[in-house]
């Protein structure tokens, strides 16, 4: 198997990034609950503790606020911690340290310090974990200047973006969709980074632009296949990051296609789609729109337990196909 055709799972790719970072820089260390011998709730850290010891793969008590704050303090004093929240929902306990401290310390102190901390967390719904273990909070944190908020969609992105995040001098939050951990894909060997501020054209097309990130990019690409069979050539923009948002990529695409669909699992109201729509309407792409901008977002409800309801609360492939078809055919 050549370097580019080796396949890893999303989780393995993240683990590999952590090992590479720790090998290269002794300032890098991991913190989180049950990331040591247990291997992490989603087996992301795996056997890293056996390879790097419990001082570099540190199990914390169940103290998200304290733990996240410790990560902030360590970052302030010369280290590069990577803190794992067991579920993105638990970042709520640490919001004080993330939002009031990490995001703002550099600015409040007039540039005298930087906070090079990474917060990564499993996110999103589809595992039956229900309301308090299934949220998509990216847009909420992306609202805060001083933070960077990113969402990888493939194993290759997961590794490259984590390595970029660790090297970044500012706080980065990485939302890893739980359903992606076991997906496999080609991952280059060795060290490489993927920029945290650039979207990619995951699939070129001319009939409709679909903007998505993370798991939604994967679902959208699948939807694009079905759409192609119906004669709709979709261009898929994989945003990769919500803050900073590469709206330029979406502008260029909409100028080509004249139609825009935003797909995101976060609650529809005031989520990614709200920002992208507004930004497009304010941009030069406005004059190219030949139909209203459509948002396909998460339901206005906590994530339910029952699988039928849980599916209905999150955009599925069929929903994306339907929305994009209607948009392309001029029905909307």
């Amino acid at each position: 198997m050549g370097a580019a055709t080796r396949e890893l799972s999303f989780a393995q790719a993240i683990q590999e990034a952590m090992a590479i970072a720790m090998d290269a820089d002794e300032r890098v260390f991991l913190m989180g609950e049950d990331i040591g011998v247990y291997g992490g709730a989603f087996q992301v850290t795996g056997d890293l503790v056996h390879r790097y010891g419990d001082q570099r793969v540190m199990d914390t008590p169940i103290s998200e606020l304290g733990g996240a704050g410790v990560a902030v303090g360590a970052a302030l004093n010369g280290m590069r911690p990577v803190y794992e929240f067991q579920f993105s929902d638990f970042s709520m306990l640490a919001s004080e340290q993330i939002v009031n401290q990490a995001a703002k310390l550099r600015f409040m102190l007039g540039g005298a310090v930087s906070v090079p901390v990474v917060f990564r967390m499993p996110s999103g719904s589809g595992t039956g974990a229900a309301a308090q273990h299934s949220q998509s909070l990216q847009a909420w944190f992306a609202h805060i200047p001083g933070l960077k908020v990113v969402e990888p969609s493939t194993p290759r992105e997961a590794k490259g973006m984590l390595l970029a995040a660790i090297a970044d001098p500012d706080p980065v939050m990485i939302f890893e969709h739980k359903l992606l951990y076991k997906t496999k894909g080609p991952v280059p060997e060795g060290h490489y980074t993927i920029a945290l501020d650039k979207a990619e054209v995951a699939r070129p097309g001319v009939d409709v632009t679909i903007a998505a990130a993370g798991l939604m990019t994967v679902r959208t690409l699948e939807a694009a296949k079905a759409l192609a069979e119906r004669g709709v050539d979709a261009e898929v923009i994989n945003l990769r990051s919500l803050r900073p948002l590469d709206i330029g990529a979406v502008v260029e695409s909409v100028k080509k296609t004249s139609r825009l669909l935003c797909v995101y699992e976060g609650v529809k109201t005031l989520g990614m789609g709200a920002e992208v729509s507004a930004a497009i309407a304010e941009s030069e792409a406005f004059d190219y729109l030949d139909a209203p901008i459509v948002r396909l977002g998460g339901a206005e409800a906590p994530i339910p337990y029952s699988p039928i309801l849980e599916k209905a609360a999150s955009p599925q492939v069929a929903d994306i196909v339907e929305a994009a078809s209607k948009l392309a055919s001029g029905e909307i």
């Binding site: 001319v206 009939d207 100028k255 080509k256 296609t257 004249s258 304010e282 941009s283 030069e284 406005f286 004059d287 190219y288 729109l289 030949d290 139909a291 001029g330 029905e331 909307i332």
Partner: protein, 432 residues
């Protein structure tokens, strides 16, 4: 030295407070820390302590007074100290201090808006997408006349294209709506049909002069708001004078030359320009001033095999008619030989375009921007002119002044041309 008693700020957003009561009177003894007066704010009343021990003097506020934060309302002098309110006020730090205005909140958006509002298109209450409106502007179609095939009768881009194709009756016009398009040009492009379709054709490349002057003429035409004012001058006597000069010139032993009406016209033009300098000027960048030239170089359009070229005679005001005539002859020869230098073609403040003997009644010359005026002349014609009693045959020269309406208005232009005409009618006026 006396210590100030000030009305303090006690709440974050407080700019003023009301003194509600004094606990001590003028002349009373006070101890540091004891309650001296009470203030009211929108939150609640608050006691304020004496800042020092001594005697309360110079009380200048009474209960009910609403005062800005930091106002001195009294003094605490040492016991036995002679207290002078004026001196105390002068040395007060509060007198020197002034509350700084809170920083104006910067509007935080750093992103510039790429879009500016488009002027209202005809048919504003028509339901059409932005792309459709843009297409309509590009194709010069009134959007209100387009039938929308989208939801709710919404007009989409392809509907506009279809309407344009139907109107042109040209199958070629149905451009794919999703093709990459550049941003709309400011001036609609004129797309020529394929003329070969209709019969035999021959392609003739434009000359170098045409290729260079073409875009410049286009720019002048589009960029300068043109008005052409026409008048006529009675050159009967002037032409008679010209003939005598021409006869002598032809007979010149050393270097024969010709005298046309042009040098005389140029001298008359300079006289008129001196009276109306705004026609010998350029608009300043920014368009808020006229830069008047204090030199008089006149450009003259000369016909060559390749086309019209403007040659410049410098300092026409300083040269005599015959000198100008000789110079025109030399420039003409150079032009025909293709030997004009850049200096020969630059620096004109005003241009005269004479169609010479070809004929015609008038034309609208194009201003040679950045100049602000150009005089077109056609062949003089013998014309019956009413002199108050009878029609007399007079040689009348049509004058057509095209001018930049930003630099001069209609009345001024009319006066300028009239003055020029009158000067040509009696050349003695050029001496004035």
């Amino acid at each position: 030295m006396a210590v100030e008693v000030i009305l303090p700020r006690v709440d974050m957003d407080m700019a003023a407070g009301k003194l509600s009561r004094w606990f001590k009177e003028e002349g009373a003894e006070v101890s540091q820390g004891e309650a001296l007066f009470e203030i009211e704010t929108d939150k609640a009343a608050m006691e304020v302590e004496a800042p020092a021990s001594g005697v309360l003097r110079g009380v200048s506020a009474k209960p009910g007074d609403e005062l800005p934060v930091g106002t001195v309302i009294g003094w605490i002098a040492a016991a036995g100290e002679a207290f002078d309110p004026a001196a105390a006020r002068k040395s007060s730090p509060a007198a020197a201090a002034s509350a700084p205005a809170p920083q104006a909140e910067a509007s935080a958006s750093a992103a510039a808006l790429a879009r500016t509002a488009e002027p209202a298109a005809p048919g504003e209450d028509v339901r059409a997408t932005p792309a459709a409106r843009r297409k309509a502007r590009e194709l010069g179609i009134d959007i209100a006349t387009v039938r929308g095939a989208g939801p709710h009768g919404r007009i989409q881009s392809e509907d506009v294209v279809a309407a344009a194709a139907a109107a042109a009756g040209d199958a070629r016009a149905a451009a794919p709506t999703k093709a990459p398009v550049a941003a709309a040009p400011a001036i609609p492009e004129i797309v020529a049909p394929d003329v070969a379709k209709f019969g035999p054709v021959e392609t003739q490349p434009l000359s170098r002069i045409q290729r260079i002057s073409g875009p410049r003429l286009h720019a002048s035409w589009v960029g300068v708001p043109h008005v052409t004012h026409c008048d006529e001058a009675d050159v009967t006597d002037l032409d008679a004078f010209r003939r005598t000069l021409d006869v002598a010139a032809k007979a010149d032993k050393t270097a024969p030359y010709r005298v046309s009406l042009l040098p005389l016209l140029m001298k008359a033009t300079v006289a008129a320009l001196k009276a109306h300098p705004s026609f010998n000027a350029v608009l300043a960048p920014g368009g808020d001033a006229l830069v008047l030239r204090r030199y008089w170089n006149i450009g003259v359009a000369v016909d060559t095999a390749e086309g019209l070229v403007v040659t410049v005679v410098k300092d026409v005001d300083k040269k005599g008619v015959l000198e100008i005539a000789r110079e025109l002859g030399a420039l003409s020869a150079k032009a025909r030989a293709g030997k004009l230098t850049p200096s020969d073609m630059q620096g004109a403040g005003f241009t005269i375009s004479s169609l010479g003997g070809i004929g015609g009644t008038s034309f609208t010359p194009i201003v040679n921007a950045p100049e602000v005026a150009i005089l077109g002349v056609v062949r003089a014609k013998m014309t019956p002119v009413w002199d108050g009693e009878a029609f007399r045959p007079r040689l009348m020269l049509p004058l057509c002044l095209s001018y930049d309406h930003r630099a001069n208005d209609g009345a001024t232009a009319a006066r300028f041309v009239r003055l020029l005409a009158e000067t040509l009618g009696d050349m003695r006026r050029a001496l004035l």
